[in-house]
């Protein structure tokens, strides 16, 4: 009892590893979709496109202003109550929907800030040599904004990976759900959860390395 049961922990590693891909899939798909959505929102907000701008503001306000777990329950249990056909939304889909909308709301704001943060003189210079709006965005503003937004976007991705641990409440057995059930069978809570914690940690650490590499690449133009 007082000593760590190392054999149990080692035995648990291959079992829990089989659930890691699902955790990464949930976060990976969620991140790609959230990025697309967030870019659209940010552009709508920066260009102040009428109607869409107001709708986006409400969307961001709601998904940033309510807990992710509440949103997951709304998608998974709430919607089928209104429209029974929506039962076809399975746990995995509902989790991805929740992660996408929740995190796109946060990410839209940091992308918008990055775009707005690009110095106005850059825009003026580009326009003065006859660039179109599209060229201005693609060649001048977005490359500079990407560099600014990257660290915060990476933060959200890391947060999203850990947020997938809520999915077991919707019946999706991902890394955390598998760990909870194993711990319930063995009552070796510390051993089970420390194995899971180390797995999350390693994944996030690898992402930090990736972020570091990307930052160096994006900073090339600025280093002397």
């Amino acid at each position: 009892m007082d000593v760590l049961n190392v054999d149990y922990m080692l035995g648990l590693v291959p079992v829990l590893l089989t659930y890691l891909p699902l955790t990464l899939q949930l976060a990976g798909v969620g991140m790609v979709l959230a990025l697309i959505l967030a870019c659209l929102f940010a552009v709508v907000r920066v260009l102040r496109i009428p109607v869409l701008n107001q709708l986006t503001i409400v969307f961001i306000s709601f998904f940033r202003g309510t807990p992710l777990l509440v949103q997951l329950f709304l998608f998974y249990y709430g919607l089928p109550q209104l429209v029974s056909a929506l039962t076809v939304i399975d746990g995995i889909t509902a989790t991805i929907m929740g992660l996408t909308m929740h995190f796109s709301a946060y990410m839209a704001e940091s992308i918008r800030a990055a775009i707005v943060g690009v110095d106005r003189s850059q825009t003026e210079a580009a326009l003065s040599i006859g660039m179109t709006n599209g060229q201005l965005m693609r060649r001048i503003v977005l490359p500079q904004a990407t560099r600014v937004a990257l660290p915060t976007l990476m933060n959200y991705f890391i947060d999203m990976i850990k947020a997938t641990s809520l999915a077991f409440t919707l019946g999706v057995t991902e890394l955390m759900g598998a760990t909870q059930k194993e711990a319930a069978g063995s009552f070796l809570y510390f051993e089970a959860f420390i194995v899971a914690a180390i797995m999350y940690w390693i994944v996030v650490e690898m992402l930090s390395k990736l972020q570091h590499y990307l930052e160096i690449r994006l900073n090339k133009a600025y280093s002397r």
Binding site: M1, G11, V15, T18, Q25, G28, V29, F73, Y76, Y77, P80, Q81, S84, A85, L86, T87, V88, I89, D90, G91, I92, T93, I96, F168, T169, L170, G171, V172, T173, G177, A178, Q180, K181, E182, A183, A184, G185, S186, F187, Y189
Partner: protein, 251 residues
């Protein structure tokens, strides 16, 4: 990742046609997978008394059983929204639940039990819970049982999603309340310093809940029939003997 995307798209396109899909698939059974020894996981294998009984029912009905595990607090939502057909997680029949669901015949008869950390002399019966902090599982019937006690307002009830045995052993709460059968089992088999405090204080009967719809009622009747057969031919008793060394399926 690609399949997930396709899945998502398929799901959206299926929304319109969903009600047309056939009903007769496997029987979808929800459980927490976190309630030793009724439902738990060891080395990725779902096991327990409730798994064995459900498998026997499925065999009797000639239907495959598909287990869906989720946190306990999500199970009734899954039943309500039609994602599972019933819950096999020692669901106690209560008035409140009977308003929303219909129940099969009981398949477990048990009592509520106070459990404390080993050596706790302050709490030796349910009456001693006055002024104490007591843990129960979130959404379980034991919270309601505690609230029915005449001195309920003097008990600080803490609800847990899981791991309340551990918190009691750590001394974060004075006691927890659970059914006698699984409490005894936990004390016997798991390395936690816990002990039963006094006799049971309430009779409970556990059964399978179903949605109160035509399909739900038909399914309930089928399950009842299977349960009766399993009771008569001794299967229920032998599954109980295997897990508990005693027959908990009789009143």
């Amino acid at each position: 990742m690609k399949t997930l995307l396709i899945n998502t798209l398929l799901t959206i396109s299926l929304l319109a046609s969903a009600p047309l899909l056939a009903q007769e698939g496997p029987l979808r059974v929800g459980m927490s997978g976190q309630y030793f020894p009724f439902t738990f996981v060891e080395q990725d294998e779902l096991k327990g008394f409730d798994v064995d009984v459900m498998n026997a029912i499925g065999e009797e009905m000639g239907r495959e059983i598909q287990y869906e595990t989720a946190n306990f607090s999500g199970l009734f939502g899954m039943l309500e929204s039609g994602r599972i057909d019933t819950v096999a997680n020692q669901i106690t029949i209560t008035e409140e639940r009977q308003k929303a669901y219909i129940f099969s015949d009981p398949y477990v008869y048990d009592g509520a039990q106070v459990v404390t950390k080993k050596g706790n002399t302050e709490v030796e019966s349910v009456e001693d819970l006055k002024g104490k902090t007591v843990a129960v599982n979130l959404g379980s019937n034991f919270e309601a049982l505690l609230r029915e006690l005449p001195y309920a307002d003097q008990i600080d009830i803490k609800t847990y999603e899981s791991n309340l045995e551990r918190d009691t052993a750590l001394g974060r709460v004075d006691a927890f309340v659970m059914d006698r059968v699984s409490a005894s089992q936990i004390i016997k088999e798991k390395p936690l310093p816990l002990e039963l405090a006094g006799p049971t204080f309430s009779q409970i009967t556990n059964a399978y809940p179903f949605r109160d719809t035509e399909a739900g009622r038909a399914l309930r009747d089928e399950v009842n029939q299977a349960l009766a057969t399993l009771r008569d031919n001794g299967t229920l008793a032998s599954i109980s003997e295997k897990w508990f060394g005693t027959d908990i399926t009789q009143p």
